[in-house]
Amino acid sequence: MKKLLLPLAIAAVMPATAFAMGETDTTFYGKMNVTAVNSNFESSIEGTDESGWNLNSNASRVGFKGKTELSEGLYAIYKAEVEVFVDSGISGSSSDDQTFKQRNIYVGLSGNYGTIFAGRSDSVLKLSQAKVDLFGDLQGGDIKNWMSGETRSSNVINYSTPEMAGFQFSVMSILGEDAGDRRDGLLDSYSAGLTFKHGGLYLALARDENVKSGSLEKAFLNINRFVASYSLGDLTVGGIYQQAEEGDNYDQNTFDLSNSSYDEDSYMLSASYKLGNFKLKAQYGEGEYDIQLAPVGGSVVSDKFEREAWILGVDYSLAKTTKIYTYYSNIESNDNLVSYSEEDDVFGIGMEHKF
């Protein structure tokens, strides 16, 4: 019976007179972001140290989007966005080389009652971070190095309310398409969030329920995330705090017993300051992780590890659409179970052009 909700939701954003046919417009957009990085990796295991230069394409993408006015205030909307690889032309994954890698693609309706779409999309929890992560997509800088929940999901149906007094609510159902009795309900796996914007202030509360995380612990997790940022003139400060734990289907991608568990407490703080064409950026993050592994036929093994990251960077704007930048990051990890530690330093210099 839950499936009855979908046509009701669609009907909610459609007025009865939605049969007109207007113009369809399309806009192309995208960005190219490439970085030359020098990374140094050291660990407590002798002989594992590595260093070298790489050229990275940092989520460079092309996309197109558009709308058609169906009636007064009601639009059909669509978006299709793919990642391109400026460095090598292909994704570089040995198992799946791709010239274009699908990012967000959807079709839906937008009107006075909100926006509903279906397709493949970043989760509400991921999108709720807005631009608080100042080093997103950069090697050694992105918060996905120490935070779970940076997720893009397939088979999603999303509804977002209009903005009302600065508030907006979004809920995204992630359909499992699983065989058997796992994630077969409309809301067995979902991502939801409430945001508030007013002037330079941005606040968000988001929740992933049994969503397969796209970063760090890539398993089905429940995550609560709080985001805050504030801009005052040329200064912007922000932060994210989140707690994550195993979701109902956590074992599906780890071990085949129900005793496994995962707990994460992580956060990040960021600040940026514009100084003419320069933008000074700093970011700090930390996470603590407690994992209970229950292998088949063995006893439960507990593990705790910590990760700490700090990143400094400078952007220089050549134009509104184009910048060059440099950054330095340091990420340290310590595993208490096996007395293992590692440290990763990354220095990068790159360019980004938006269009």
Binding site: T27, K65, E81, A228, L232, V237, E288, K354
Partner: protein, 198 residues
């Protein structure tokens, strides 16, 4: 993790201290690629989407390929002769929207209001140079204008008025995009659609 507590307090404290100017910043349209990474889907698709690359009209086929600026109708009060593009309605929609109005759209709306208010309905009299100075910030905007003519008098009189209007709106030059005629009581209106040089 105890650091979190004092860091959160520090952040909250700094927000509190600056609350006097808490709502000073504006909510502008960002580049499409940035808005595409946001939960504000209406802003991406509707409120900040007025400059498409391709416009497909099911009646006319694809109208333009390339950056297309929708034209501003300088004679919007006359229902009989409206062109197919209705920027006045689009602006009215944005103004009436409950969501925040993008700053650059408001800026455009002000330009439009200023430009249309300052332009004479028929042939322009007075110094073109003086009006040019007043309208020097219409770069990139497209306009629809018209002038009447009769079959006996010929279109020359209309052309003069149209070129004076174009010089008024676009003191730095223009590109004519389209030309068409519509009958009126005494003859025709000659319509021009043009875009000011950027």
């Amino acid at each position: 993790m105890k650091k979190i507590t004092w860091m959160a307090l520090a952040l909250a404290g700094s927000l509190q201290l600056t609350s006097a100017s808490l709502f000073a910043a504006s909510d502008e349209c960002s580049p499409d690629v940035d808005m595409a990474d946001s939960l504000d889907f209406s802003k991406l698709h509707i409120e900040c989407d007025d400059n498409p690359d391709i416009v497909y009209d099911p009646k006319e086929g694809t109208k333009l390929f390339g950056k297309h600026a929708k034209a501003i109708d300088t004679y919007a009060n006359d229902d009989a002769d409206k062109p197919s593009v209705k920027p006045a309605q689009q602006l009215a929609y944005r103004e009436s929207s409950k969501t925040s109005v993008p700053q650059q759209d408001l800026s455009t709306a002000k330009k439009v209001a200023k430009a249309t208010a300052a332009t004479p309905r028929s042939s322009v009299s007075g110094s073109a140079g003086a009006t040019a100075a007043a309208e020097s910030d219409n770069a990139g905007l497209a306009f629809n204008i018209r002038e009447p003519f009769t079959t006996t008098g010929g279109p020359e009189s209309a052309l003069k008025g149209l070129y004076v209007q174009m010089a008024h709106y676009c003191p730095n030059g223009w590109e004519k995009l389209k030309e068409w005629s519509v009958p009126n009581q005494s003859g025709y209106y000659l319509h021009y659609q043009f875009q000011c040089a950027k």
